[in-house]
Amino acid sequence: MSVATAHDDHHDSHDHGPPKGWQRWVYSTNHKDIGTMYLFFALFMLFFGGAMAMYIRAELFMPGVQLANPDFYNNMVTDHALVMVFGMVMPAAAGMANWMIPLMIGAPDMALPRLNNLSFWLLPAAALMLILSILAPYLFPGSGGPVNTGWTLLPPLSIQNGIGMDFTIFAIHMLGISSILASINIVTTILNMRAPGMTMMKMPLFVWAWFFTALLLIAVMPVLAGAVTMLLFDRHFGTSFFDAAGGGDPILFQHLFWFFGHPEVYVLLLPSIGVLGLVIPTFARKPLFGYKALVYGMGVLAVLGMVVWAHHQYTIGMSLFATNYFMIGTILISIPVGLMLMNFIFTMWRGSMTFETPMLFGIAIILMFSFAGVTGVMLAVVPADMQYHDTMFVVAHFHYALIPGAVFGLYAGVFYWLPKWTGHMYDERLGKIFFWWTTISFNITFFPQHFSGLAGMPRRIVDYSIQYTEFNMISSIGGFLFGLSHLLFLYIIIQTIRGGKKAPDKPWEGSQIGTPGLEWTLPSPPPFHSFTQAPVVK
């Protein structure tokens, strides 16, 4: 692909820089600045959610109740999940979308720059609400105990919870509106703002991945919003959507939640698959194997993902027909998932590979995410899941799915694009140390949880019986190491922002291979306004 760029030097005369001071950020409509804010917000939430995880692992280090009461423990489990899912992974992925999609497809900005500002600024407000929901039992004594339902917010407990639950519900409303607005923006940008010649089938995989992610969000976020709205009505306005005493059905909430919840796990996964689709060809120096198959595979995944939700509910007593349907559907999911992994493996096959930090993450993701696929198929099988459900085995499964599948994908993206964003190369040696440190400590943390789960240790319970002690101690030590590794991550990011070797326009030798975006035609860092004149892709 050859690109005729028309962006460079000639438009200096009207290239006004960013406004100075705080106004640059608060009133920002610039996709790069908003992307940066998203990324910093996610980084902050990573440490916030991580602190809660450290508390959880400290509490589980030994059997018995050591640090706080069971309700507080369950509150931490709930908010750890909400913060990591809605506050960390989704904003980080949205930050990358904001930064990269316009650059990749040659658009001057997002289609709706001011809406973009709103979708970002809803996030800190929602985070504040979540923090209030944690503090509510202490700020308003007598208003009820902590939110202790788990991130699934299941009634009847969520109906009985105190005022903290109301803050949680409002936080979810705001987060939901934020991601719906962002998704509408992204889909519109991808459909309408591509540079001439940038056809859909020439788009980098990351753009495709976000296209499906945004469509999924548009389809399922409103359902979650509806469900928590009904919850709010049940709590305060005397309705009985989910209250059995009044003729409602608590199971209905589970269906609504998981109708959102299962597609949501693909929302977390797909952007990272998109990053893999750039990182692997770059460092294997070979075009993506089966680009089209990957695009269709992601589409199939998104559609199938919407109709298998009740595999989270095998134990509620559905009819055998319904249970069988959801089992078969869920097992079918492993076909597109397997196809995507195979494509990445074939891309590396006989490539001339080098192992920079993003590539190390890429390879580790393929290995460890496959493992989550295997435990996933185990969980999909109804008679087996009757045993595994609500044990630490499920916790192990979804942490193997989400930490490699979503979080490491984002880390790969951070290292891949830091040179483009900051104009500086990061310290490759530190990057590699960070990679090995996180990967090893992640496995120490979560691998033993498969065993404690198979042995029957339930999840979401503050205490456990003593035969699980060794597994939990190993897990906790791994957890602390994993947490600690992120200080190095922070250090690398700050160091790279502040200086370092100057990054060339194409920091990676292989970045132009396959279906690259137009971001590599711009200097590193790109100017405040880019592609004010559309480039032409031939």
């Binding site: 719906i180 998704s183 389809a219 409103p222 009904m230 005493a245 269906h255 609504l256 009819s319």
Partner: protein
């Protein structure tokens, strides 16, 4: 931008507006779909029976029919009672278990008392374990068929008449029939946090 004339900013804006309008329709539609699930789910449960692994729900009145009594075997039926949080009632069966022949009509009584100083309307929700027996446990009369109102301090004995269909598989030798009573007026019901015993105060 994708058009051939990049200068047509107005055209692009119009195109964007069209896309956005369509996407908003999806958002609103899906928000409505969530609410539409409430009646649809009920319909799916009643017509398709998707929520009952047991087929028929345990709360249904069975047609009174005469079944041959199978005196060759005995099934132990255990009676269980639970009070949902926020219902200040006393509630328990008068006998814990009974040996019954399949096909034999059985009567059992539950005792219930309102411990509060207010009239309370409550609803009992039944359950049968193991679930495979649910469709074979036929109830002719049950306090769970209707809501129960108790005046302050009022006590009552409530009967359940049922029989177990002889068609039930031989492997089921013990069956548990359980009831959970729920307050129909959630707002009047004391919140669980106010039961000092249920939640420890935060340090």
């Amino acid at each position: 931008m994708n058009s051939d004339t990049p200068s047509s900013a107005g055209q692009l804006a119009a195109k964007n507006r069209k896309t956005i309008r369509r996407l908003w329709l999806v958002v609103l539609g899906m928000f409505g779909f969530g609410f539409a699930m409430v009646p649809l789910y009920r319909l799916a449960c009643e017509v398709g029976g998707i929520n009952g692994v047991a087929g028929t729900p345990a709360g249904r009145i069975a047609a009174a029919s005469v079944m041959p009594v199978d005196t060759s075997r005995l099934i132990t039926v255990q009676f269980d009672s639970t009070i949902n949080s926020g219902l200040p009632w006393e509630f328990h069966p008068l006998e814990r278990q009974k040996q019954v022949h399949p096909g034999q009509q059985v009567a059992v009584k539950y005792y219930v008392k309102n411990l509060s100083d207010q009239p309370i309307v409550a609803q009992a929700v039944p359950g049968v374990t193991p679930w495979q027996v649910t469709q074979h446990l036929k109830k002719l009369e049950c306090f769970c068929f209707t809501q129960q109102t108790l005046q302050p301090g009022e006590a009552r004995e409530m009967p359940v008449y049922f029989m177990i269909d002889p068609a039930v598989d031989k492997q089921y030798e013990t069956v548990t029939l359980s009831y959970t009573f729920m307050n129909t007026d959630r707002d009047a019901a004391p919140k669980p946090e106010q039961h000092a015993a249920m939640t420890r105060r935060i340090p």
